[in-house]
């Protein structure tokens, strides 16, 4: 454990963050002249100052970043930046959030969860709205760079799969030079996706501000919107189609985008087992949803059922959390099914949350293997992904991940129930936060503002836990981690 290098990295990150997070809203504030500029200037100076102090105090440190430091850096990345990002919410007279609410909002943004405590978004100053959207975009970028390049090396919950197996960016074990290269390439993809998405939104009818703001949260699979009604505000099927397409793209493993882009081959996607399964889940859940909506007469026309149904499925299953309809009031099992879809989540290496499609696929295959083993006790059955065998070590860690995920879910559910929430609210709130989804059911369908303070802190922890693939955070709580 090298505290100095961790502090140094965090110092740099904070300085970087102070500029990236506060400068653009400041410009927006000037453009719209909404009087919010002191808020962003203040938070810029405070965060930059703290960062500079941390950096200066460790400037002479020349140690290398070790494996354990990696866990700490990744965890602190979201925890510290989450707190730093809460400053404008506290300073701004337009929202005036308490510390709890501000941290919740900021963390929800940075982890690309999209759960909000603010209501009455439409009346907020543009710069604050822009700041929220941008937090998610920066969070998404953090995920792409850190989660893609760093987490696989830490080997969390079977993600070492991508270290050895996946073609492209994370093949090498050398941390720094590869990290820089990988991060750059992924960042380009992320940026170009955002630009294209913003243009598409603009073309189909959003104004420029909304187009850019929503492109941020679409590509980051965040789900913040500049309107209380989310994307439903626009009431425009074309916008919903654009959102569906870009949520789908952003839910795909970025390593896959990277390789496909490098080789200029679409077939690369189709041959990827995770992509196949991801598409399969989305298509089958969509078919069920659309038919239930249509046949139970929620919407009169098939077209409306299809567009609203598919939109909500993709939005939930990729853990984005946009809404165009009050899916809470949808009949039968639909709200729960969508929540389950969110538990499966998006592909590993995307900005989405959830347990990740690849893990579910492996668990599924393992389940089939167990059944086969009952029939043929002596059979030697390998688990294969795309024709290549997966080592038992990886399958084991996926199981471990699954078990800990379920346990964490249950413990937090109990804790929320203890704060006095009803079971549906508590269940969906934990589900929505640990999977970085955003909106839940019942009392948390639109805003989390009404929840008790304790519940909000528990949910903050849940968001962090989900974003850090559980183990990265849990490992910090083990005594073994801190032993020299």
């Amino acid at each position: 454990m090298h505290a100095s290098i961790v502090v140094k990295i965090l110092g740099i990150l904070l300085m970087l963050f102070s500029v990236l997070a506060n400068l653009p809203p400041l410009i927006v504030s000037f453009l719209y002249d909404d009087g919010m500029s002191p808020v962003f200037l203040n938070s810029f100076f405070i965060i930059f100052g703290i960062g500079l102090l941390m950096w200066l105090s460790t400037i002479r440190s020349r140690t290398e970043l070790g494996l354990r430091d990696g866990f700490l850096v990744v965890t602190l990345f979201w925890a510290v930046l989450g707190s730093a990002g809460s400053l404008p919410f506290m300073f701004s007279s337009a929202v005036e959030l308490s510390i709890t609410d501000a941290v919740f909002e900021s963390l929800s943004g940075l982890t690309t969860t999209g759960a909000t405590v603010i209501s009455g978004l439409d009346t907020l100053p543009k710069s604050i709205l822009f700041y929220r959207q941008q937090l998610q975009w920066l969070g998404g970028m953090g995920i792409i760079v850190l989660a893609m390049a760093l987490l696989p090396m830490l080997g969390i919950g079977g993600m070492q799969l991508y270290r050895a197996e996946s073609p492209g960016p994370v093949k090498d074990n050398k941390l720094v030079p590869r990290l820089a290269e990988t991060a750059k390439a992924l960042w380009y993809i992320y940026l170009s996706l955002t630009v294209v998405c913003a243009l598409a939104y603009w073309i189909v009818g959003m104004d420029l501000f909304d187009a850019i703001s929503h492109s941020f949260t679409t590509v980051a699979i965040g789900g913040f919107s500049t309107h209380d009604l989310s994307l439903g505000y626009f009431d425009n099927p074309a916008i919903e189609v654009v959102a569906i397409i870009f949520m789908f793209i952003a839910g795909v493993n970025f390593a896959l985008h990277f390789t496909a882009w490098q080789k200029r081959k679409i077939s690369h996607y189709l041959n990827d087992p995770e992509f196949q399964f991801y598409s399969f889940i989305l298509v089958s859940v969509s078919i069920v949803t659309v038919s239930v909506l249509y046949f139970s007469d929620v919407y009169s026309s098939l077209f409306e059922s299809a567009i609203k149904g598919v939109f909500q499925v993709v939005s939930m299953a990729t853990t984005t959390g946009f809404a165009t309809a009050d899916f809470n009031s949808w009949p039968l099992f639909l709200p729960y099914m969508l929540l389950y879809a969110a538990i499966i989540g998006a592909c590993a290496g995307s900005t989405g949350g959830g347990m990740k499609v690849i893990r579910i696929l492996l668990i599924f295959k393992q389940g089939i293997r167990e059944v086969q083993r009952l029939i043929h006790p002596r059979a030697v059955i390998p688990i294969k992904l795309g024709g290549r065998p997966v080592s038992d070590r990886i399958v084991e860690s996926v199981w471990g991940f699954f078990a800990v995920y379920v346990m964490a879910f249950m413990v937090m559910l109990l804790a929320l129930l203890a704060t006095g929430l009803d079971i549906i609210t508590a269940f969906s709130a934990v589900g929505a936060c640990i999977n970085n989804l955003g909106p839940g059911l019942a009392n948390v369908a639109v805003t989390y503002g009404e929840l008790p303070v304790t519940a909000k802190w528990i949910l903050c922890f849940a968001m962090l836990l989900g974003r850090l693939e559980i183990f990265t955070l849990l490992v910090l709580f083990t005594p073994m981690f801190w032993k020299r």
Binding site: Q372, H376, P377, R378, V380, P382, G387
Partner: protein, 457 residues
Amino acid sequence: MKIIILGANQVGSTLAETLANEANDITVVDADSEKLRELKDHIDIGTVVGHPSLPDVLERAGGQDADMIIAVTESDEINMVACRVAYSLFQTPKKICRIRASSYLETDKLFGQHGIAVDTVISPELIVSSDIERLLDLPGSLQVLDFADGKVQLVAVKAYYGGPLVGQEIRLLRQHMPSVDTRVAAIFRKDRPIIPEGSTVIEADDEVFFVAAQKDIRACMSELRRMDRPYKRLIIAGGGNIGMRLAQSVESRYQVKIIERDPQRCTFISENLNHAIVLNGEASQRDLLIEENIADTDVFLALTNDDEANIMSSLLAKRLGAKKVMALINNSAYVDLVQGGDIDIAISPQQATIGSLLAHVRRGDVVNVHSLRRGAAEAMEAIAHGDESSSKVVGQAIRDIDLPQGTTIGAIVRNDEVLIAHDNTVVETDDHVILFLVDRKRIPEVERLFQVGFSFF
């Protein structure tokens, strides 16, 4: 012909034995002097002790004036190097090399004058597994041989009571199946060959060899026996090269289970197969076989390297209810012992391999040779060259060709068209003629028949 054979293993020694009987000048090279002495004791060959790929060893074996070198040692690498050495030092005209690893076989760029300098690559595992595959695809057959790229097949079946033609004269075949053309090439009754004529009566338990176009084979078989239902469930014992290769090529068509005793090999096989179920255990374990439903298995194939294990596990499988059992048996003494008893088909890897080697040794333009009935009989595909004046076959009707005794012409393939041979069919130049020889001693006469006279040049 002067031939050097590298490797005195099973393939090498069987080959030496077969070729020596055909008046060739054979030298066998092997590092194991004991093996060579045994071989020399009972066949008339020369032997050289030494590492087969070394230039000095090859020179001692008569590399300078050898017409052909056949490298069949256990090692792919030794075989390839020996061929290259022979080509570089002695310009040996014909080099045949045995290759096991499929990776070498994937590209043909590897072999050629500028590469490893091999004229013909043979892979016994590949030959055996495709032989077995043909047997599986044609239930009830004892042997299935391809000619002219599979357009014509020679099939051996056992005639049973209840087959429409059993107890009838062969000439009635045409009346039974007016639309199907076939020719009975030979009949073995109690292991004695009978040259079929129109009036020959087929009896039950006769082993009938007939030639037909591939699409007609099933119809012909149904004349001689009730057709077996197509096979569905297979159990392969032994996940070696042959077992795994066979499983790979048939797993999409059949339900395949493969039993292998080595756990590591099991893992390897399972990773290379997509549908087949790989079981870790001994094929001779009664419980395992029962557990895996041997009673409902259509074919049990024992394909390990161990003859005795193959025989025992096949017998066990048969006793436990497997409908058909096939066993890989190297030792030809065992073959006579078990075939036709409890074991339905004994597959001899050497016979299969040697057939494909013989095609290259024969004089005249012979493209395909299959050794039948443990080397007693032979089927070959020869190309007729020359014209009426230079060739003894071109321009002649089949009834006029002076065939040696015990030889029949089964079919002719002319420009991709299959013509079943009848007495008045006239052979043209470049025809592929498929012949069946009951007696191997007549081979030189047949060879002479297909050699072109001097006027051709």
